[in-house]
């Protein structure tokens, strides 16, 4: 197959280096020597998937083992898909060019609801029946994890087993169990799923749960249909990140992939408590890595990859206790080698003059601030604890330090939003531009406004909220375009239909499986890519299944309703989410447990894992 790939297929497809599989630090083990084989699948194109840290971590952990191997597979771009179909070739793993069906386990990472159709398409291209009930012992076990697994229901028909929570130790439990049951080169499906669901924390096997519905379509009951299956699946968390495995060598892509750099995860979790933010809820508690650990990891990564960029990553990097020392030390250490430091996801109020100066010395990208809403009232509603003064001070510091451009993120359609809040975005943008002008003149000065639409997510205080209607969102987008008149302000927004579909799947139930199957069969894939997204095909699929998508996206749910993900336990209590929701509607702020009193989200006590702040 490799010969055919190299002589016949690769010369005809775009960016052929996506499919080589021989990148530096890629690991090709002797297939015959290793008993257990797992494919790590990312349901988007290589260029996007290679930037994903979780994939690198799992690849490292599995390949460290002598008894298992991990190989990568990404969604083939549409030209490659055509070639595969025309030639009758199955979707293959990159490292050894094996059909996906040859692996014992396939693990999909779920980062984005609009990549679900790609999962079905990838299974289909691999010749693996997409429906779990059509598979037998001759097929791989299909596993999925990642943030979208916190509402696994729309994928319940297709995925055998969901891994809820953090994978560093969970993956070994899954592999050990498979190795223990491996017989004649097969993992017995029923036994494996049952044992995993019974014995491993964080494992959810949808087939072991029955869902009952009310006549109006709301979920009435979710309960296990086998003995020994937990009624609620609680996420797995890593207690001590310093002791958790972390790759010392990333696979270095040939092509320009996103986030193609050495990445340090300075901490996990975020306790700022933005009420729309799912990551801020499901990755709790906050656990920081020691500076010594980060320095060691930086050293190994730069030495082994040769990357020109070192990124300090987390949900809110500026919150890291010793961020200024760490940033300054790392910058000083690698400057002579031409390695630039980048700090994605900085929050406005963590941005200080000295740090700004340091970062700018080796700038790579423009600076990003995320006020999310245009008025203080709405920022209080979402608990984005930033004032206009904070923002303007941060922006001034940035421009004073020499930046020519900043990017501001906003969301439209947040709960309680009115036109006044939209006008607030315009006014705020103008003020930011004024502030910038005090420090920078000239043609390069630029302010980018990126405006997305609010998508209510499971396990957040806004999980009961409806998404704003598409025409309302479009009207507000129009209001923005008309109001933004300054030439230096560049406005970009998201397609409201994409956000609508995202909202449907983010809080959908397992009846959506039929819609997904229909849409995928109709050719839906790469839905997150505007050039491939077909809202018509999706609408058709909903109509054919007699399901109303607005039931999921636009309906206000009450606290008593059994939510489709109520059997998944992310650690935070329902009481906390309700309290936060009520406080939101009253515009009351809730503090950050890093520095203020515990708001009682329940994670630490219920999971038995404490927050870890360096220096505490």
């Amino acid at each position: 197959m490799r010969t055919e790939l190299h002589t016949q297929v690769l010369p005809t497809v775009s960016r052929p280096a996506r499919y080589l599989g021989n990148e530096y630090n890629s690991i090709r083990k002797d297939w015959a020597e290793v008993p257990l084989k797992m494919a790590l699948a990312f349901p988007d194109v290589y260029d996007v998937g290679m930037g994903h840290l979780g994939l690198k971590i799992l690849y490292h952990i599995i390949n460290q083992r002598e008894d298992a191997l991990a190989e990568r597979v990404f969604a083939p771009w549409t030209d490659m898909e055509e070639e595969l179909v025309q030639r009758g070739l199955p979707l293959f793993s990159l490292e050894s060019c094996r059909p996906l069906g040859d692996f014992h386990l396939i693990g999909f990472t779920l980062q984005y609801e609009l990549s679900y159709s790609n999962i079905l398409n990838m299974l289909h291209l691999a010749g693996i029946p997409p429906l779990a009930r059509d598979r037998d012992d001759s097929h791989p076990i299909i596993i999925a994890g990642g943030p979208c697994a916190y509402n696994p229901e729309p994928l319940a028909d297709f995925i055998d087993l969901f891994a809820i929570g953090e994978g560093e130790f969970l993956i070994d439990e899954l592999l050990d169990l498979a190795l223990g049951l491996l017989h004649s080169d097969r993992v017995p499906r029923d036994e494996y799923l049952l044992e995993a669901a019974r014995r491993i924390r964080g494992i959810y096997v949808p087939a072991f749960y029955d869902v009952e519905y009310h006549a109006d379509g709301r979920v009435a009951k979710i309960r296990p249909n086998r003995t020994g299956i937990p009624p609620r699946v609680r996420k797995q968390v890593v207690e001590d990140l310093d002791a958790a495995p972390y790759p010392d060598a990333f696979v270095v892509p040939y092509i320009d992939a996103i986030h193609d750099r050495a990445t340090l995860e300075v901490f996990r979790g975020c306790t700022r408590g933005c009420r729309f933010c799912q990551a801020g809820m499901i990755y709790r508690p906050v656990r920081e890595r020691q500076a010594a650990t980060l320095h060691r990891q930086a050293e190994e990564l730069i030495k082994n990859t040769g990357y020109e960029e070192l990124a300090l990553s987390s949900l809110s990097t500026g919150d890291y206790t010793c961020i200024e020392d760490l940033a300054a030390d790392l910058m000083g250490r690698y400057r002579d080698q031409g390695v630039a430091l980048s700090l994605p996801s900085l929050r406005v109020d963590s941005f200080k003059g000295e740090l700004a100066e340091e970062i700018r010395k080796m700038r790579k990208t423009s600076l990003t601030f995320a006020p999310e809403a245009g008025t203080q009232r709405l920022r209080d509603v979402v608990n984005k604890n930033i004032t206009e003064e904070d923002l303007l001070r941060g922006v001034e510091a940035a421009f004073a330090a020499g930046w020519d451009g900043v990017k501001l993120y906003f969301m439209l359609g947040l709960p309680t939003e009115t036109e006044e809040d939209v006008v607030g975005i315009i006014e705020l943008a103008n003020k930011v531009l004024e502030a910038a002008r005090r420090h920078r003149k000239g043609p390069r000065l630029k302010l980018s406004l990126s405006v997305s639409s609010f998508v209510p997510k499971s396990h957040t205080p806004f999980q009961w909220e409806p998404q704003a209607a598409m025409d309302v969102l479009e009207e507000r987008q129009r209001l923005l375009t008309q109001g933004i008149t300054r030439r230096r302000i560049e406005l970009s927004w998201h397609d409201v239909r994409t956000s609508f579909l995202e909202a449907v799947f983010a809080r959908g139930d397992r009846r959506l499986g039929r819609v997904l199957a229909k849409a995928a069969a109709a050719g839906c894939r790469f839905d997150g890519w505007s050039e491939h997204f077909s809202f018509d095909k999706w609408s058709q699929a909903f109509a054919e299944c007699d399901l109303d998508p607005t039931f999921y996206a636009k309906r206000r749910r009450d606290y008593e309703e059994v939510l489709p993900w109520s059997h998944i336990d992310a650690g935070v209590t329902k009481g906390f989410l309700m309290r936060e929701h009520k406080r939101a509607l009253k515009g009351q702020l809730t503090g950050d447990c890093r520095v203020e009193e515990c708001p009682g989200c329940g994670v630490c006590t219920r999971l038995g894992v404490a927050k870890r702040i360096v220096g505490d």
């Binding site: 190299h6 002589t7 016949q8 690769l10 010369p11 005809t12 052929p16 280096a17 080589l20 021989n22 990148e23 530096y24 270095v252 040939y254 092509i255 320009d256 730069i302 030495k303 082994n304 990859t305 040769g306 990357y307 020109e308 080698q337 031409g338 390695v339 630039a340 700018r360 010395k361 080796m362 700038r363 790579k364």
Partner: protein, 229 residues
């Protein structure tokens, strides 16, 4: 210290674009802990210059790049350290020190030799037809091809740029201008021969500097050359 490296691009990396190859070398130099000089400015980059871009899909026997080092390193040591950290199928085969005032590689390299082999074997008859087609082609006074560039369509006469072309057995061999003095792409010759370029594998055999009626290797500018192959 300015070092000239000669390297091969094997079949495993022939689908890597020139831009990607440059990045690959920048990273390999850092992995090899070689003291590469950086450009000035906010966005420092290693000082590397390549002789000539190779088309996507082509492999090569001999590509060249110059790299500026801030400290002296033994040539053999440079080869060893780089080959330890380069991806498979990229191999440094020789290194030499060139004078600091040597002209840039891309300005001096002006000739390239290629071997083109069909992916599916051709019959003896097909080879004979091809040989005759090539003979006829080379008898033409002009060989006009159209190139599409960013600035629009442009007609180019390849005739003076094709120095030699023949079919010695089971391949097409061509020696053509490449670089600052004009350029012939192997796929252009194939198209003129009514061949489908995607059915041929292109291998660059060498890059040369034409001087006083002879072809010299870019390594000849270097005083000392270490062969690491």
């Amino acid at each position: 210290m300015r070092v000239r490296l000669c390297f091969t691009k094997g079949p495993g990396v022939r689908f890597i674009s020139h831009l990607d190859l440059m990045r690959t070398f920048e990273r390999a130099l850092r992995r090899g802990a070689l003291p590469v000089a950086l450009t000035q400015g906010y966005h420092p980059r290693p000082k590397l210059t390549f002789a000539s871009a190779l088309a996507l899909g082509a492999s090569s026997e001999a590509e060249y790049l110059d790299v500026e080092l801030t400290a002296a390193v033994a040539l053999m040591e440079i080869i060893r350290r780089l080959n330890d950290v380069l991806p498979e199928d990229l191999r440094v085969t020789a290194a030499g020190q060139v004078p600091a005032d040597a002209r840039p590689l891309m300005a001096v390299v002006d000739t390239a030799a290629y071997e083109l082999r069909p992916i599916q074997p051709l019959s003896d008859g097909e080879w004979e037809t091809l040989r005759l087609a090539l003979e006829d082609l080379l008898k033409e006074q002009t060989l006009i091809v159209e190139r599409v560039t960013k600035s629009g369509r442009r007609q180019v006469d390849l005739k003076p740029l094709i120095l030699r072309a023949e079919v010695p057995g089971d391949k097409i061999w061509m020696l053509v201008r490449s670089g600052s003095r004009g350029n012939v792409r192997p796929d252009e010759l194939l198209t003129l021969l009514q061949e489908e370029p995607a059915r041929w594998q292109v291998h660059r055999v060498g890059l040369f500097i034409a001087q006083n009626g002879r072809l010299s290797s870019p390594m000849e500018e270097a005083g000392v050359v270490v062969d690491g192959s």
